[in-house]
Symmetry: C2
Subunit: 366 residues, 2 copies
């Protein structure tokens, strides 16, 4: 679909205070909107994107030309119905699709690169809330996010408890586990090991750490898929050949697919943003922000919650969603929870799934 | 323990025929032995090592000085009792601890590097069998292996069915899955992305693709551990600090641990060997070698089998062992199978585990 407006930029007034203690001056947020905002501004839905996502939730990506990453979910008559709702999706602070991040120019006119402050999920949400303030939206009909988007939705509910009536968290977690951190650290080390990374100062050099970024993406991509899904999709089938090559080409379809995922990713993403956003995710532990007790994070909430997990998601398994549900239960928050069956692992939230559609639609209209 | 003899080298006479159709001339096998071979040569046990293992199963590694990798299992009075058995452990073809591999000199006096032929698990076993021939050992009391060692044990049982009376396969599989291949491909791409790799011709250059190899090891290492084990061992605990640094140092213990594992590995392993051995594992599909029917692989066997899996091993999960057991059952082979409980994931086979000890000891003496 065509967005209501393209490439909106919102300049955050003053400084954005960050969890690190630093302040980010002159930050801007790039966002897209779909559907009309009603007169009393009560029909707004904020969709928060995942690690490598962007604001183009339901319109073509300006670099790849591919459809929006949740086009099947967002649009007229779709589960998130833009005939009824005003949908906002903003590129997170630290990313590279228009919001202020490491490739943006610092006040001295040079790219921040690694001078960009380390941010947190809560800082990203500070950016989202600043945008809502700018748009005059006091209370969202709902905040919705999958994966890292779900972390933002939880953080918004915990830290700005009056800003959303409904909180929908899909395939997400309230904390990054040791295994989650470990996979991200592999990706960061792959980027930093690339000589073209140059301690992050590659913007003017004409060469970028694409090799390292591709390896990082490949490693991460495996965690987005299930063993079962990989076996269904690729198994041990060979790629464009009848027999093994006894060489190091991509003999297997799964190798070819991963290489394609890795190299394609480098066309649209900035390596330093990958470092910063993975760091923010690794730092995320909503309980820790509230003296170690997750329930306390939600003590002020009046929102209704819905959590969805997928049975083959081993990145943020059902147990993580259940952990959040238990915390919400203990604060007597209104919460529904469903584990959906899907073979595709973590990525299931992005793929066609009738039950997910019904859950989303039902929750938004209930 | 002190090995019966150190740094034994066996020169394979003539040429070693390979699955690729090539022949490897002048190949040698480096091996260690422990315990005395009896007069009728009936007490020999061949232990096959894993991907990054070596022949130093029960004696100090000559580079790192660390104890043998299975010292707790192999020795006088231990489950694999060297007071009773003559234990042989050979470095696989393609590796880098003395057996012929990519860093060895080709007939032209230069290192093979990527001119080394792509090998298979069966080729590794051809090397093992050649060594047994050289040692005059017609029939092993047992062949034993964990992980890739288990693949070799299965391959030996399938292709040289009279050579072992007992076959003990721990935490292994009869085929590499799409997910297994995917993780290995990430490692290979990390190595090949390192400019110091130089298409494999780095032996004379003075610099090695250590950064790429370290990233490969880090990614693989995560697959050797369970989510549960990582949480127990590290959780989200910080490394030598009280608060997050808001930087890219190894804030978390798990990051520090992975970096240490990655860099330590480069001290003792050759990057090209990593490429070749992971390739051999990815090519492994014992059923495929036998027209797609795994049971047919074992039709000629008279050996007794024992398979052991660990409940938290997600690299080669219990279902893979069960698949082998079903194939063996259908050929009416003698087979026992046990899934052991252990929190450490795939690596559990290398760690203290009383039940594993009893299974190994019982099987060897039954």
């Amino acid at each position: 679909m065509k967005p209501a407006s393209a490439s909106n930029l919102y300049a955050i007034p003053g400084e954005l205070p960050l969890d690190s203690g630093q302040n980010l001056a002159g930050a801007q947020i790039a966002y897209e909107t779909y559907g009309e905002l009603n007169a009393d501004k009560s029909n707004a839905i904020l969709i928060c994107h995942a690690l490598t996502g962007d604001q183009f939730v339901a319109s073509a990506h300006p670099i790849t030309g591919k459809p929006g990453w949740w086009e099947r979910m967002v649009g007229p008559g779709k589960p998130i119905d833009t005939d009824r709702f005003h949908v906002i999706c903003a590129n997170v602070i630290g990313s590279c699709m228009g919001s202020t991040g490491p490739k943006s120019l610092a006040p001295d006119g040079e790219p921040y690169a690694m001078r960009f402050p380390v941010i947190t999920i809560r800082d990203m949400v500070r950016g989202q809330v600043a945008l809502l303030d700018g748009l005059g939206i006091e209370r969202l009909h709902a905040v919705i996010g999958g994966s890292m988007g779900g972390m933002q939705a939880l953080s918004l509910a915990a830290n700005w408890p009056t800003r959303a009536q409904r909180v929908l968290v899909i395939a997400s977690t309230a904390r990054h586990s040791a295994q989650n951190i470990a996979f991200h650290e592999v990706g960061r080390q792959a980027i930093m090991a690339d000589p073209a990374w140059c301690d992050g100062d590659y913007y003017a050099s004409g060469s970028r750490p694409d090799n390292g970024l591709a390896v990082a993406r490949m490693a991460a991509h495996i965690t987005y898929l299930s063993e079962e899904g990989l076996t269904e999709k690729f198994g041990r089938r060979l790629q464009d050949r009848d027999a093994k090559s006894f060489g190091f080409d991509a003999d297997f379809q799964v190798e070819s697919y991963l290489r394609y995922q890795g190299s394609g990713f480098t066309q649209r993403f900035d390596a330093n943003s990958y470092l910063y956003i993975t760091r923010a995710m690794d730092y995320f532990d909503l309980a820790e922000e509230h003296c170690g007790k997750l329930a306390d994070a939600f003590s002020g909430t009046t929102a209704r919650f819905c959590l969805v997990s997928f049975d083959t998601d081993w990145l943020y398994p059902t147990s993580e969603s259940r952990h959040v549900v238990h915390a919400l239960n203990s604060t007597r928050a209104q919460v529904s929870f469903v584990e959906l069956s899907a073979s595709a692992g973590h990525d299931s939230f992005l793929l066609p799934h009738d039950q997910l559609d019904r859950v989303v639609e039902g929750f938004l209209n209930g």
